[in-house]
């Protein structure tokens, strides 16, 4: 009993890559396609080290033509392979959404289930580093709104690995949205939270199960991705004032775990939804509506904290004004708690 089990802390990117490498070893059908995924290892470290082990045929650099190569992933998936295709920034979805939402997402349904599309679309999301309106969005709502794709958003290394295993093994298309600020990239300092212990062996995090990151009776904070960490920070801060917020990390948007949220709100009566996507017609509204449908009588107050329907501006004071901060979240919790 003197021997200690060595814990392994990994960054989110290492954890994600570990799952990919594992699945690539298990099956020749798994391969990765994207821009700058070979030698570069992914602009946000999403394929770091894979080229060395698997070579150019399985870690494929492709021309800057997202429609062609994401659509090619659809075709390869329908042919029985299990491609992973990377859209470098989610902000670029506009050049290739047709293949994503009309083919990848709909072919299973439109074929009556005779065809399926076992692929993963990975994509980097999020701002907070002054990259302006075309490189800082999360677009969670845009993807979750359109039927036929599962949508997952890890907030830490443990979930990143487990969700990636689940995603690659899933027989349906999965959009895997990783937040740049969580990856642990050398040139983009991350909060400490996303770096967690990660088992060496493979494991899955199931889709459709939100995680209660912190329990509390005074308010329910529902969020995802980077803002899980800001919400936790806000909650910890408020605990000093005797306000105990429950923090829920959605983890997956499709499928959506309504139950965990509703149960929490039945307890707390107060709901704060925090999102790094645009406020209107998206995630925050959906969460509020689901709670209103199921637990209206229990709901006493509601607040939404999100990007206020403006493109994401460049300059630091401007971006900070629109991207929900820990202070914004704390204030919203206080407001519903009043």
């Amino acid at each position: 009993m003197t021997q200690q089990v060595a814990k392994r802390e990994l960054t989110m990117s290492r954890a994600m890559v570990e799952a990919i490498a594992h699945e690539m070893r298990e099956s020749e059908d798994v391969f990765y396609m994207g821009e700058d995924v070979a030698d570069y290892g992914g602009i946000f470290d999403s394929t770091q080290g894979l080229l060395d082990e698997f070579g150019y045929d399985r870690v494929m650099d492709v021309p800057i033509s997202e429609t062609a190569y994401i659509g090619a992933a659809v075709g390869a998936a329908q042919a029985g392979m299990r491609p992973i295709a990377e859209l470098m920034f989610v902000d670029f979805f506009g050049v290739c959404m047709d293949q994503i939402y009309n083919q990848m997402a709909k072919n299973t349904y439109m074929s009556g289930g005779s065809v399926n599309v076992p692929m993963v679309l990975t994509t980097a999301v999020g701002g907070g580093y002054n990259d302006a309106g075309q490189h800082s969005q999360t677009l969670y709502g845009t993807f979750a709104h359109l039927p036929g794709m599962k949508v997952v958003v890890p907030s830490n290394a443990y979930d990143a690995k487990g969700l990636m295993h689940s995603a690659i093994r899933d027989d349906d298309p999965v959009v895997y949205m990783f937040h740049k600020r969580l990856m642990g990239i050398g040139w983009m300092p991350a909060p400490e939270g996303p770096k967690t212990d990660v088992p060496e062996e493979d494991y899955t995090v199931p889709f459709g199960e939100a995680a209660v990151k912190r329990e509390g009776d005074d308010a329910t904070v529902v969020t995802l991705g980077l803002h899980v960490h800001r919400a936790m920070e806000a909650a910890e801060g408020l605990a000093d004032d005797g306000i105990e917020a429950e923090v829920i990390d959605l983890r997956t948007l499709v499928p959506f775990d309504t139950e965990t949220i509703v149960q929490s709100v039945r307890k707390t009566g107060r709901l704060v939804v925090v999102d790094e996507d645009y406020r209107s017609f998206g995630l925050t509204g959906e969460v509020v509506a689901r709670v209103a449908e199921r637990a209206l009588d229990d709901l006493e107050a509601v607040e939404r904290v999100a990007i206020p329907d403006v493109p994401i501006p460049y300059a630091r004071p401007l971006e900070q004004a629109v991207n929900p901060s820990t202070a914004d979240i704390a204030e919203a919790i206080r407001t519903v708690h009043e």
Binding site: G71, Q99, F207, G208, F256
Partner: protein, 365 residues
């Protein structure tokens, strides 16, 4: 030299396709009388028929095996038939029946038959990237399978097609792109939307061979496709082929073609690829009796398929909620009702089958 047998097989395919289109047209228009209502009748929705395009289907697909992939366009029937798609289940799909290829979910623009690796879709050039992907899978797996992506000449200006040419070329993939040039993209003549007269010229910008077949001669298509398919199977990369075809009907059923010169319609009807092939067969010594036999067999197959399809049951309304995923979520909720309520109230709300009448054009007629 194309053997007489192959010519006869192509002829039968083409006659099947032509008769199929004519019969679908009849069925489609039934129930849309006296006033044309797109949502009424046994086949509602848009219907794009390919009469006059048959040579492009038969001449290319004659080289294909079930393992080869074909992605067709919004005008897919002739290609589906040439590729060997199950005609009965395809027809049932077009009639919106539960036993259709897609359980009634896809309809005529979205036919999927994985047994012969056929798919089609309704967005211009959308099939090109998946065809490239099928070819990529073949290359990765070391098979000799090829993929064929069909397009209309109107599609050659669409980014997804052009990107696909490049990806196929740089990855040296076994793909054949086939443009069916019927001179029109709905109401827009080719010359209004691109400067090139020869659509296969698009290949020049990607260092890919491009070939045009200037007349819808099934034999010429056959020979051109032969080279392209062999090239692909041998691992020598993609080819772009353009085939001149003719649109004998409107863009879709109900299109009065007010924009189209009458002579052009007449010309399209005069230049009949089926007649042309029949003449050729006669020259090869095939008798009119032989041709009639092929035709009869083709017609019979079509009638059988249509009859079978019409006997098939319609889907139940609640089937609308299945098949979004093949691996549906267990715990996480997917909303699966038609509207008002939670998933567990399914029976109580929308899933109760509504009245559905094959001649009912829907809520707003």
């Amino acid at each position: 030299m194309v053997s007489v047998n192959t010519r006869k097989r192509m002829y039968e395919t083409m006659v099947t396709a032509r008769h199929y289109e004519e019969r679908l047209q009849e069925e489609y228009l039934e129930g849309k009388q006296p006033a044309f209502d797109i949502s009424a009748g046994p086949i509602p929705g848009e219907l794009h028929l390919a009469a006059g395009h048959e040579a492009a289907a038969a001449g290319v697909c004659a080289h294909l095996r079930p393992e080869d992939t074909v992605t067709a366009t919004h005008r897919p029937h002739h290609v589906a038939i040439a590729k060997g798609v199950d005609l009965k289940r395809m027809t049932a799909e077009i009639f919106g029946r539960r036993t259709g290829l897609c359980k009634g979910k896809g309809g005529h623009m979205h036919l999927f038959d994985p047994d012969v690796n056929f798919a089609c879709s309704g967005i211009i050039a959308e099939g090109s990237p998946p065809a490239v992907g099928a070819a990529l899978a073949a290359k990765k797996r070391g098979t000799t399978d090829v993929a064929v992506s069909y397009l209309g000449e109107g599609a050659i200006s669409q980014g997804g097609f052009l990107e696909s040419l490049n990806l196929a070329a740089v990855q040296n993939l076994p793909v054949v792109f086939v443009i069916e040039d019927n001179d029109w993209a709905i109401s827009m003549p080719k010359g209004r939307v691109t400067d090139v007269e020869n659509g296969s010229q698009r290949a020049d910008g990607f260092d890919m061979p491009g070939v045009r077949v200037d007349y819808d001669d099934a034999l010429a298509v056959y020979e051109t496709a032969h080279d392209a398919v062999e090239r692909a199977r041998a691992g020598n990369g993609p080819t772009l082929i353009e085939v001149q075809v003719h649109r004998r009907m409107g863009h879709f059923m109900g299109d009065a073609e007010g924009y189209r010169p009458k002579e052009d319609v007449e010309r399209a009807k005069r230049l009949d690829c089926i007649e042309r092939l029949a003449d050729d067969l006669r020259e090869e010594g095939v008798t009119d009796g032989d041709l009639a036999e092929l035709t009869d067999r083709a017609h019979e197959r079509v009638e059988e398929a249509i009859e079978w399809a019409k006997e098939q049951p319609e889907p139940d309304p609640e089937e609308a909620f299945a098949d979004v995923f093949v691996n549906p979520p267990v715990r996480g909720e997917i909303v699966s009702d038609g509207g008002a309520d939670d998933a567990d109230d399914l029976e109580a709300t929308d899933a109760e089958p509504r009245e559905s009448d094959a001649d009912d054009g829907g809520e707003d007629r």
